[in-house]
């Protein structure tokens, strides 16, 4: 088996491989979690991959110790375990010194949906954004995943890269996306802006297509780095259209919705804004991402509806209700 060019996890490990080849002091610690990429690294660099055991608190403390000794340390594990379980270690051992400890974490959003709340990556952004100096990368495709790992390495401080389990068609063309900007426009548009992150970027692109068929021109922006933010760039994004909708596969509080609101609320001339996100709940039972998209309106249709609603509001009834029905139909056809 070899690494899949579309799988963000494989892409991340390809980037780690690049770093390993260039820097003999780079290491990887796992919490006894496997991956094809781990096996490959292990085979080539048996000394530099350490299974630190099912003990995430110590794993992060050890990573900090190694980083204090001049090493870049990657960590690998499931997002929810590698954030909530070792949260104080991230804050005190890693962030107080801005150490190069880079978490490569599997399970962003509901990619482990049916595995229940212990595996959901939908409540971590609030805690992560509260960690001073922690860079937060949330790639929606393999290209950004790979570039994000390299950028996190080059930037040299603490970082986490949230990875999805799914391997979609790439949404980015690296000739146009500048990784250091932390965001990229994936589709131009003048009526409304959809800011999305992670898996939701693909839904946002779909929504924009649906809207286009109705004559509405929606811009799609992928905010693939949630910290640090290039404030100038983001303010620009928020100023360009009268309507902004955000969408994310994450609980409403703490993630993209909060991040954008924090900026919009202080603007002199804010756009009309609506945030689409999961509810602030723990999701018990069997949760699939398809079901969640419907229930919480974060699928393409939900996004398109939200854009229409806001446009109606800003144009004071300028949109015919027929448009909404048309979107519903176009989705059934597509």
């Amino acid at each position: 088996m070899s690494l899949d060019s579309r799988d963000p996890r494989d892409a991340a490990f390809r980037a780690i491989g690049t770093v390993f080849a260039a820097n003999a002091r780079a290491m990887l610690l796992t919490n006894d979690m496997g991956a094809l990429g781990v096996d490959e690294l292990c085979a080539r660099y048996p000394d530099r991959v350490v299974n630190a055991g099912i003990a995430e608190q110590n794993l992060i403390s050890v990573a900090a110790g190694l980083a204090l000794s001049g090493r870049t340390v990657f960590t690998w594990g499931i997002l929810s375990h590698m954030t909530a379980r070792c949260y104080e270690q991230l804050r005190l051992d890693v962030c107080t010194r801005a150490l190069p400890v880079i978490g490569i974490a599997s399970g962003a959003g509901l990619s482990y949906g049916v595995d229940g709340p212990t595996h959901h990556g939908i409540h971590d952004l609030g805690p992560l954004r509260a960690l001073p100096g922690m860079a937060i990368w949330n790639p929606c495709d393999a290209r950004i995943a790979e570039a994000a790992v390299l950028a996190a390495y080059r930037d040299g401080g603490p970082a986490i890269v949230r990875l999805d389990k799914e391997a979609p068609e790439p949404a980015h063309d690296l000739a146009h996306t500048h990784i250091d900007m932390g965001l990229a426009s994936l589709r131009a548009g003048s009526d409304a802006t959809i800011v999305a992150t992670g898996a939701s970027v693909h839904r946002a692109l779909e929504a924009a297509s649906q809207l286009a068929r109705e004559g509405i021109s929606a811009r799609v922006v992928d905010l693939f780095r949630l910290a640090p933010i290039d404030e100038g760039l983001l303010t620009g994004v928020l100023a360009e259209t009268p309507v902004v909708v955000s969408v994310e596969e994450h609980a409403r509080t703490g993630g993209l919705a909060s991040l954008l609101a924090e900026r919009i609320a202080e603007l002199a001339r804010p756009p009309r804004f609506r945030a689409l996100a999961l509810a602030d709940r723990l999701l018990l039972g069997v949760t699939t991402r398809e079901r969640a998209e419907q229930d919480y309106g974060i699928g393409a249709t939900g996004i398109a509806h939200a854009v229409l609603d806001l446009l109606t509001l800003v144009r004071r009834g300028g949109l015919r209700p027929a448009r909404r029905a048309a979107i519903d139909t176009s989705r059934r056809v597509a």
């Binding site: 496997g34 055991g53 929810s80 482990y112 229940g116």
Partner: protein, 303 residues
Amino acid sequence: MIAWSPATVASGRRSLDATAAWVRRAALEMALAGGKGHLAPAWSWVEIGVALYHGGVLRHRPSEPLWAGRDRFLLSKGHGCLTLYAILADRGFFPRNALARFVQPDGFLPGHPDPLIPGVEIVSGSLGHGLGVGAGLALAARRDRSDALTVVLLGDGECQEGSVAEAACFAAQHGLDHLVAIVDRNRLGSTARTADVMSHATTRARWESAGFEVRELNGHSFPALLGTLSDVRQRCFGQPLVLLADTVKGRGVSFMEDSPLWHHRLPRDEEIELARAELGGGPAAAFLTTFSDSPGVPPEVAP
């Protein structure tokens, strides 16, 4: 191999061995139907689970899952839930036909247990939570002058978690003698042998030093399990008990036994029929009739 057939399951009168065999096969069919699941971790503790639920160890009322007099069972290694689901369904906590909808959106059995499922006490799936919650339950039971047991099943890899060490010291300090930890000691974690990762985390000495009474046994032997567990409700010397149960991860299908490869992998193609053949229970269609049966055991079981 044990002689058993779907019919012995439907009858509700069958040996523990036959029940264990059914549970293993049920786990396989659930995982195949759902397209995912941790089979090897589930098979590792089948006899332990069957001994607890079918062997008369745990007080429980399938028709009344929240019965106040019940013993508490916590599957701390939540990823081993295929076995738990099969056992609970078999006892009658919910219909067996729910098993066919493991990880299906129209079912209620996710990839890790949660308390929406009748008979499940806690959310688990993040390792290292069960013993602490169990210590709280056991402390409460003692204060309520109940002789209820709190039984927590842990993985041996899971014992690397510091939270388990904290809980162990706490339980010993408070003399929680009706708390029983059972370690499914299959010597494997997810990707490696535990000896190669943290060899000192699951030893007899470590549990002894934490203040536990330690009993080591063969975790696949019903006589050993039932013998070792026979006095658990009577124990009253103020010491919690741990069973270090030696097990084989993937037990039941030769090519899946004792190999890190199979922690989360499912059999594919020909492997599927090989696995079915080794587990017994006949062709898929015949076996799946056991999922449509109503529960085969009387609703109330008090040892």
